[in-house]
Symmetry: C2
Subunit: 457 residues, 2 copies
Amino acid sequence: MINKPSIPQGTRDFSAQTIRKRNYILNTIKTVFELYGFQPLETPAMENLETLMGKYGDEGDKLIFKILNNGLNNEKNIEAAKAGFEKVLEGKNSVDVTERALKYDLTIPFARYVAMNHTKLSFPFKRYQIQPVWRADRPQKGRYREFTQCDADVVGSYSLMNDVEFALIYDEVFNRLGLFDYELKINSRKILSALARACNATDKLVVITTAIDKLDKVSVNKVKAELSEKGLTEFQIELIEKYIAISGTNEEKVEQLINLLGKMPETKRGLEEIKKILQHTAGKNVVVDFTLARGLNYYTGIIYEAKAPAIVQMGSIGGGGRYDDLTGLFGVPDIPGVGISFGVDRIYDVLEELKLFPENLQVSTKALFFNMGETESNFAFTVMQKLRKAGVACELFHIEETKIAKQFRYAEDKKIPFAVIIGSKEIEQNYCQVKNLATGEQHVVIFENLINFFNNN
Amino acid sequence: MINKPSIPQGTRDFSAQTIRKRNYILNTIKTVFELYGFQPLETPAMENLETLMGKYGDEGDKLIFKILNNGLNNEKNIEAAKAGFEKVLEGKNSVDVTERALKYDLTIPFARYVAMNHTKLSFPFKRYQIQPVWRADRPQKGRYREFTQCDADVVGSYSLMNDVEFALIYDEVFNRLGLFDYELKINSRKILSALARACNATDKLVVITTAIDKLDKVSVNKVKAELSEKGLTEFQIELIEKYIAISGTNEEKVEQLINLLGKMPETKRGLEEIKKILQHTAGKNVVVDFTLARGLNYYTGIIYEAKAPAIVQMGSIGGGGRYDDLTGLFGVPDIPGVGISFGVDRIYDVLEELKLFPENLQVSTKALFFNMGETESNFAFTVMQKLRKAGVACELFHIEETKIAKQFRYAEDKKIPFAVIIGSKEIEQNYCQVKNLATGEQHVVIFENLINFFNNN
């Protein structure tokens, strides 16, 4: 009895059609990254478990896929493995059972890479990285256990021009993909610090940030309730409510912020960052949003969040920000940086919904040569080899004694635009029939002109 | 105390330079696959453990990387996990400890995919797949625990034209890579069956094949000793020795084979296959080698092995063959096929040794705009944005108050061919200095001509 084969929950096979669409997105992003001087980096799927543990909080740690050591049944390992497994059952880790794990994001492996190679790298180091990551999350619509992340970071530079360029990279990528109505929200973490200081609650920065971060999903009243629950006073909550209420154009928001928090030293520095971005992105869809917080606590300056055009219900399709210390966790301090990522799966769904994938994306094979019998096939084959030499992708239908209807269906399934038919009469008279399968139009083309025909059609 | 970060044994980080070289190889192969009508497929890194187990022999099974289930410390799992781990310590598997594993090759996941989707696929199904696989092998020079495989297969067709096309694909790829002196060895498994029958030892086919397969590494006497040890008679060994001694041109070898084994029915069918390949590959480097055996037992017809040019000591850089039944293991019988793979890591080493990587491969960023101060940088930035719009990759050196020497070094490290220098005098007079960093040549270019300059240089 053979079980029906299946794949693990939360993973996907990608067919040719899906791969072409995904590559369209990934190649667009890659091209723009390279226009801005970023270079590719690839790190292994597996990292040492100790590289990953403790970097993503308790919840994150639980979602890391760990790899069982090989050879546990080996006599010299068996006792240690037994003791190690006791630890695993207590929710701890043991190198005697699992030394390695699948990477959970691209940031920590990148930090590990920079820490390992910092004496050899040329700074500022600008890298992009497009690779799968793995998370043992409960799978649901749009959430997978194996998915592709797409990051770019500059490390080793405090210059705000890097932050400016990331805003321009978002703009360029979304425009190239036809997402003209995207929105790029920006804020500075320094402004949130200013708010905490104005509340006289610098120790509660994380509480305030976490609560405000939920405004996307919950009402202002819910946020106020959370703040009150976490011990903030009425006066503090009132100030935060005023802060949340800031609205209008970018200029109006900046003015209101100055009125509210202008005296805080962080306000001045945060606004300098924001103004620098605005100065270089005039006319782009950059929107100042002081309630933008971004969950991760390592951000210290500019933060970004990219939103899909409002007509699709999708939310964030990218995000990032500036951090002060990438590699401190690995013993190499003082490497600041800024980085962004694109949410590839969501961008895919948005382009699909808005029908923005180019139509010609799916054409790979240009012509199917029909199988009209042994002799005809051998002849067709020599014609086909000339086309391939000239860069025209084509194939011969490789099944003996097949029906014409089946060959048409095959061409249709593979989205092959042309059928080439060469029978004995055609061989004799030095031409072939070329049928455009979309229009039904039929052309008589002499063999010498076939390359030309396909280059022009 | 922070440990020095490291990566798991047998895994690699790929820097930009290495990625560009690898992509050069992979893109060449991809382009040729597509010219022949193959379409991409991607399967997950993780498969269900039961999909993989029992497919690679006992030795292979041991080298599969298994993934520890998450949440083993959960109360409802803990008892089953304990019992399961006892099994693991006996060298068995337990879904209560590990349900999933990293893929070991691309063939079994492909077979699983075809078995899962065979009612929806259009046959003959021609797919290529370029993805990493994982093996818990002892790492050594040229052998990694995470490495890229690069496969193409046609399934659902018995036609020998598929086998012919794979020989031509090897030829086209190696020629495009400059490996003109490659050698493609071919044989048919049917010829080896004929030999076993002539020896009156069809039950010893595997023994004979395995012994002959070692001729690459050991002497004829060693092979004879092995055959004798495995119980073959003197008469049988003598016949095998004559078989091994077949030599000369392809035509001479075929003639000698007919003299030796012409009466066996498998000889006729095997030679038909070989002749079909030779007929369509005249003038290419195809060499008939009746001692070619290929270890894997599922091959039934043509087998291939590609060798690097003899001046490098590398051996096999690709291989494959025809099989009768890809998906029978997954309950879907009667899907025959033929496939090949390229050894990407070895091809990389060969191209490196023969200095065959194109020189311009490493140019990504075309120009580095030097940082000459705040005002100058802001001005340079607007110039740069125009270049980027025109598709010229460039970057501004993003560190405040930096030394000129450092900027030159940065350009050199990143292999950026041009430096652009814009000082206050240049801004005033509407031009910039462009320095070719390889030749030292300096050009004065007015801003309006800069796009043209870079398109022509």
